[in-house]
Amino acid sequence: MKSRRINSFAVYAVIYLIFLYLPVAVLPLFSFNDSSYVKFPLVGFTLKWYSQLADSHGLQNALVNSLKVGISVAIISTILGIFAAKSVTRYRMRRSGLLVGFIMVPLVIPEIILGISLLMTFSIGGVKLSLITISIGHLMLCVPFSMLVLISRMEGFDKSLEEASLDLGENAWWTFWRVTFPIILPGVVASLLLTFTISFDEFVLAFFLSGTDATLPVHIWSQLRFPDKLPSVLALGAIIVVLSTIVILFAELIRRGGVQLNKQSKV
């Protein structure tokens, strides 16, 4: 009985993954297709879109820019999210609901409004548009995401653990790293992944807040307009998927190696 239930969940998970990866699978398919037009039937095999990609500095720069913005936004917003989530779940505060609500405001503002009004703010203040202005915009968007994910992790957190640690003579800093952090770690990882993904993928804010350094979505938005540019963008999408899968598998191998070493040293 039990094993059958596990199976049905696993089957669902596989179907769900197919749903998630179906659109992604389309990308490599047409990146090897010898036609500007993305339609069936496929015409023939070619590598020309990949060589076009190698020549396209705009695309490569945009990718690097997006990585820079995404990684910094993920780290900063998760740190800010930890502060906020911890304070909300740990302490009973008067009128905190209102302030937490305020942090959530960027979620409610239509992105185009946030983009334009932030741009107006920057131009009034004489701030030059750059990757930093894009990051600030993304930060506004990502902090609420991070906070919500972490709150759902920290709610019901057992205070006595931290108190025990403090009583045992650890200071607050080490208590955080050695007690609190390991417990909220799944939330932290989820938050990092989520905020990176959001920033890496965000287009509207990035359009309004970018100067001459475009991020990947801004670049893709402009490339999507012309069919003969499209297949090399698809090629890039395919490369990103394959590359990130490889990197993650590689990292997992390292991690496993690390765990095994640890186990051995324990013995």
């Binding site: 906020a84 959530m104 409004i113 759902s152």
Partner: protein, 300 residues
């Protein structure tokens, strides 16, 4: 002197330790400050704009309620807003419903390598939203994956046209686009549940379903709520997806607001519309939270 000082410092320190409020706010302040810095000006600009009006390229800086009046007078705005809320609510429902079992699977059935699963779920979202929307067009399109395979199997003789360029396509595309945003918070809150509670319930003779409804689901509610909010709120204002796959009837409030800041060149009306839409979304969110409170009470 010295001792008096010391007691004062001690008092403050004591007060600080005792007062949860103060400690909480201290911890909250960095985040709050940064969001405040980033949002204060934009919000002021937005509110001020919404009470002005625009003539050609000039903003007329006299107070007027005309923009808000327009919303209630002209049918189009509240009709579209209502339509957007309905579509977003539907997207939220579908996305969370589909995501929950997967999050459950990762949290309870995957023993090793949970992180691999989590990352596996997020990888598709690193390929750029615009490309994924484009892919959906290829999948659902006239000569797309589905139509081509159905045609070659001989199940249909003409490509199905109802797959793309309608609200249905918008819902599918959005449910896919926001999948990770729904899965992660639900997984995080499921992961936190103390397994012994579930075992205890089973030991007491509750069925698997009853255990799920009485123990697992209520305990994972924070994550479900977070997922609902994170999916529902941003999709209301989306204007790219409806423009790309929604066809002639797919427009949402985001498209109208966007056009106010572009083609229609009426920034004040755009600002007023977004404030109204923000308030409506907030009200809808409150309703959702109220409903879950009710659910919690009922279950317990």
């Amino acid at each position: 002197m010295i001792s008096a000082d010391r007691t004062l410092v001690d008092k403050i320190r004591l007060q600080f330790r005792r007062s949860e409020s103060i400690r909480g706010y201290t911890l909250l302040s960095p985040t709050l400050l940064i969001v405040l810095l980033g949002l204060l000006f934009p919000l002021i600009i937005l509110f001020t704009l919404s009470f002005w009006k625009q003539e050609y390229v000039d903003l007329i800086q006299t107070f007027t309620l005309k923009n808000y009046g327009d919303f209630f007078e002209k049918k189009i705005y509240y009709l579209i807003l209502y339509r957007s809320i309905r579509i977003s609510a539907f997207v939220m429902f579908v996305t969370v419903l589909l995501a929950y079992p997967l999050a459950y699977f990762i949290a309870f059935h995957v023993q090793k390598n949970k992180m691999i699963w989590i990352i596996l779920v997020t990888i598709p979202f690193w390929t750029s939203y615009l490309l994924r929307v484009f892919s959906w067009k290829v999948i659902l399109g006239y000569n797309g994956v589905i139509n081509s395979s159905l045609l070659s199997l001989g199940l249909i003789s003409e490509p199905l046209e109802f797959l793309l360029y309608n609200p249905f396509a918008v819902v599918i595309t959005l449910a896919h686009a926001w999948a990770a945003v729904a899965i992660l918070p639900i997984y995080v809150s499921l992961e936190k549940i103390d397994r012994s509670l579930i075992e205890a319930s089973r030991d007491l003779g509750e069925s698997a379903v009853a255990t799920f409804i009485r123990v697992t689901l209520p305990l994972s509610l924070p994550g479900v709520i977070a997922a609902c909010l994170l999916v529902f709120i941003p999709t209301v204002g989306d204007y790219v997806t409806p423009a790309l796959v929604g066809g002639t009837r797919g427009i949402m409030i985001g498209n109208i607001i966007q056009s106010m800041f572009g083609k229609a060149l009426n920034w004040p009306l755009g600002a007023a519309l977004s404030i109204i839409s923000m308030l409506t979304v907030t009200a809808a969110v409150c309703l959702l939270l109220g409903a879950t409170q009710l659910f919690k009470k009922k279950v317990s």
